[in-house]
C-alpha cells in the first residue's frame, strides 16, 4: 500500500494466481462440457477444448427450463431471504449483545442450535407447518384450553412459504454478534452521553459500521437462497412458482437405468443459473471498501 515490496508482491500474485487456477479449473471443465454435443460430452475422456455447440445448448436449455420466468421467482425468493436475514439477524444480535438480561444467552443458544439439525430430518414436519402455518399456536391454545379461533394459513406455493423457513437460521445473528463485539465500548458510551437511545445508536452507529460485514452476509445469503432446491421442490407444485434451481434439478440426469446423460445441457443450465449470483457479487464488490469509517480509539 505504501512501500515498494517487489518480491512480496510477486509472491502475492503467485498465491492469488494459484488460487484462481484451482477455483476456475472445475468451472472450466463445466464450461467445456456445456459446449459439446451429446455424444462428445459422453466420450471418455472428454475433449479438453470447447466444442461448437455453445449457442445451441444454451438456447435449448434456456427455453426448455423457462429460465426467464423462473429466474424472476428465484430472484424474489433470494432477495426476500437476504433482506429478511440481514434485518432480523441484525436486530436479534443487537438485542443479544447490547442488552443485559438473564435470558440473553438462552436466546443466543436457541438461535444457534438451529444450525445443527439437518433440514432432511425435519422436512416432513416442517412441510406440515407451512401447509398450516398457525397450527403450532392452535395446538398450544387448545392445550391451554383456550378455544380461540385460529385460521388456517396455507403457505404452500407462495413466496412467503419459500422465504420464511429459510430466514429462520442463525448464521447472520452469529456473524453480527462477532462484529458487534469488536466495536469499542467508547462508541456506545459516547452515544449515551449524547443522549442517544438504543435505536438511534443502532441506526446511526452500528449499521454504518457493519456495512462490509453486511455486504459479505448478503452475498453469501443470496447465493445460499438461490441454490436451495430441496425445500422449493417440496413446497412448490405450481409451475408458475418454480425457481431456477428447481428447474436445474429436473434437467440433471439421475443415476437411473436408461437415463441418457445429457451432461452438456445440464452443465449449460448450471452455468446459466450461476450468472445472477455472480452479478450480485459484482454489485456487492462496491461495499468491500477498506476503512471508510474510522473506528480507532
Amino acid at each position: 500500500m505504501i512501500e515498494r515490496t517487489p518480491i512480496l508482491n510477486a509472491i502475492t500474485h503467485v498465491i492469488m494466481l494459484i488460487g484462481v487456477v484451482v477455483a476456475v479449473l472445475p468451472i472450466a471443465v463445466v464450461f467445456i462440457a456445456s459446449t459439446h454435443d451429446f455424444r462428445t460430452v459422453n466420450m471418455v475422456p472428454m475433449p479438453l477444448w470447447p466444442g461448437d455447440q455453445f449457442f445451441e445448448n444454451y438456447a435449448r436449455v434456456w427455453e426448455k427450463a423457462d429460465f426467464g420466468a423462473k429466474m424472476i421467482n428465484s430472484l424474489i425468493v433470494a432477495v426476500g431471504v437476504t433482506a429478511g436475514k440481514i434485518v432480523i439477524a441484525a436486530l436479534s444480535a443487537f438485542a443479544i449483545v447490547y442488552f443485559k438480561y438473564r435470558l440473553r444467552m438462552v436466546f443466543f443458544w436457541l438461535i444457534f442450535i438451529t444450525l445443527m439439525l439437518p433440514l432432511e430430518v425435519r422436512i416432513v414436519p416442517t412441510y406440515a407447518v407451512v401447509a398450516d402455518t398457525l397450527s403450532p399456536f392452535r395446538t398450544i391454545l387448545d392445550f391451554l384450553g383456550l378455544p380461540l379461533f385460529v385460521p388456517e394459513v396455507n403457505l404452500l406455493n407462495t413466496y412467503t412459504g419459500l422465504i420464511l423457513p429459510l430466514v429462520a437460521t442463525a448464521t447472520g445473528t452469529f456473524l453480527y454478534r462477532q462484529f458487534f463485539l469488536t466495536i469499542p465500548d467508547e462508541l456506545a458510551e459516547a452515544a449515551k452521553m449524547d443522549g442517544a437511545g438504543p435505536i438511534r445508536f443502532f441506526l446511526e452507529v452500528l449499521i454504518p459500521l457493519s456495512k462490509t460485514n453486511m455486504a459479505a452476509l448478503a452475498t453469501i445469503m443470496f447465493v445460499y437462497a438461490w441454490n436451495q432446491y430441496l425445500w422449493p421442490l417440496l413446497v412448490v407444485t405450481d409451475q408458475d412458482m418454480a425457481t431456477a434451481t428447481m428447474q436445474l434439478k429436473k434437467i440433471v440426469p439421475g443415476p437411473l437405468f436408461g437415463q441418457p446423460p445429457i451432461w452438456n445441457e445440464a452443465m449449460a443450465a448450471t452455468l446459466l443459473v450461476m450468472i445472477p449470483p455472480l452479478l450480485v457479487v459484482i454489485f456487492m464488490q462496491g461495499y468491500f471498501v477498506r476503512g471508510l469509517v474510522n473506528t480507532d480509539k
Binding site: M1, H13, S92, M116, Q178, K192, A215, T245, T270, F288
Partner: protein
C-alpha cells in the same frame, strides 16, 4: 463475552429479538420437536400408529460398529476440511487485501466456487479426479496405483475433503476479506510508518484483529461439515468405497430420506446434534477465551 456498556430497556430487547424467535419457533423448534419425538418411537412413513420404544433406537445405533465408523469418518472429515479451507482462504484473503493490481478480478473469481450448484461440481470433480479418465489418469499412467479413490478409502476421503474445501474456501474468503477490510487503514499506516514490514503487520495487526471472524468461521465450518455435507458425498463417492466416506449426515440422509426410516434418522440426528453442540460449546469455552474483541 460481555459489553461493558449496555442498554436497559428490557421490552425493547424483547421486541428486537421477537421476530427471530418467532420464526425459529414456528419453522424450527415446532417441527424439530416432532422429529425428536420420533426418535423414541418407530414411526411408519405415512404416519399412523407409532409405537413408543424408549431408548431402543439409540441402543441400536450405539451397538452398531458401522455407526461408530461413520462417527470416526465424520470427525476426520470435519477436522481436515475445516483446517484446509480456513488456512487456504485466510492466505488468499490476506493476499487479495493487499489490493495489488488486478485484485478486483481475483476477488471476483475466487468467489465462483460458492455460486456453482452441487451437481456440476460433482461432475467436474469426477472428471478431474477419476483414476482412469481424468487429469489424474495421466499421473496414474506414470505412477501406477498412485491415485484410486474408487478402491482406496484414504484417497476417497482426500477427494471429499478437497471438494468440500474447494467450495468452503470461497465462503470463508468473503468473510475474511470483509473482516480485513473492517480494519481501519490508519492502524496499518501507523504501523507502516513505525517501520513494520508487510508480513509483520499481517501477524501483529491483521490476524489478531481478525480473530472474531476466525472464530465465527471456525464454528460455522465445523458445523457445516458435520451437518451439511450430504451433497458432496452423494455426488462424488456415494459413501464408499466400503463405507470409507460414510459420513454421519450421509447416513442420516440415506436412512431417513431414501429408506424412510424416520425414527432412526431422528435418533441419529439427535446424536449428531449433541456432538456438534458439545464441540461448539468447547469452542466457545476454550477458543473464544483467547480472543480479544477489542
Amino acid at each position: 463475552m460481555d459489553k461493558r456498556v449496555t442498554f436497559k430497556s428490557l421490552w425493547l430487547a424483547g421486541a428486537l429479538i421477537a421476530p427471530q424467535m418467532l420464526l425459529v419457533f414456528v419453522f424450527f423448534y415446532w417441527p424439530a420437536s416432532q422429529a425428536f419425538y420420533w426418535a423414541f418411537t418407530t414411526q411408519p412413513p405415512f404416519g399412523g400408529v407409532n409405537e413408543w420404544v424408549g431408548l431402543q433406537n439409540f441402543r441400536e445405533i450405539f451397538a452398531d460398529r458401522v455407526y461408530w465408523n461413520s462417527v470416526q469418518v465424520s470427525v476426520l472429515f470435519a477436522v481436515a476440511s475445516t483446517t484446509l479451507s480456513i488456512v487456504m482462504s485466510l492466505v488468499l484473503a490476506v493476499a487479495v487485501d493487499r489490493q495489488l493490481t488486478g485484485y478486483r478480478t481475483y476477488r471476483f473469481v475466487l468467489f465462483w466456487p460458492y455460486a456453482i450448484a452441487a451437481p456440476a461440481v460433482g461432475l467436474a470433480f469426477r472428471f478431474i479426479f477419476a483414476p482412469q479418465a481424468g487429469f489424474m489418469a495421466a499421473l496414474n499412467d506414470a505412477f501406477p496405483g498412485l491415485w484410486n479413490p474408487a478402491v482406496n478409502g484414504g484417497h476417497a476421503m482426500a477427494l471429499i475433503v478437497f471438494a468440500n474445501s474447494w467450495k468452503m474456501v470461497a465462503y470463508n474468503f468473503i468473510f475474511f476479506l470483509a473482516g480485513l477490510q473492517s480494519i481501519p487503514r490508519s492502524l496499518l499506516e501507523a504501523a507502516a510508518m513505525d517501520g513494520s514490514s508487510v508480513v509483520r503487520r499481517v501477524f501483529d495487526i491483521q490476524l489478531p484483529l481478525l480473530a472474531p471472524t476466525f472464530f465465527f468461521l471456525l464454528v460455522i465450518n465445523i458445523t457445516e461439515t458435520f451437518v451439511d455435507s450430504f451433497g458432496i458425498v452423494d455426488i462424488t463417492t456415494g459413501g464408499g468405497p466400503a463405507r470409507a466416506t460414510d459420513l454421519m449426515v450421509f447416513k442420516i440422509y440415506s436412512d431417513g430420506f431414501k429408506a424412510l426410516d424416520y425414527s432412526m434418522a431422528a435418533a441419529q440426528s439427535i446424536v449428531l446434534m449433541t456432538l456438534v453442540v458439545c464441540l461448539t460449546f468447547i469452542q466457545f469455552r476454550f477458543v473464544e477465551r483467547k480472543i480479544h474483541y477489542k
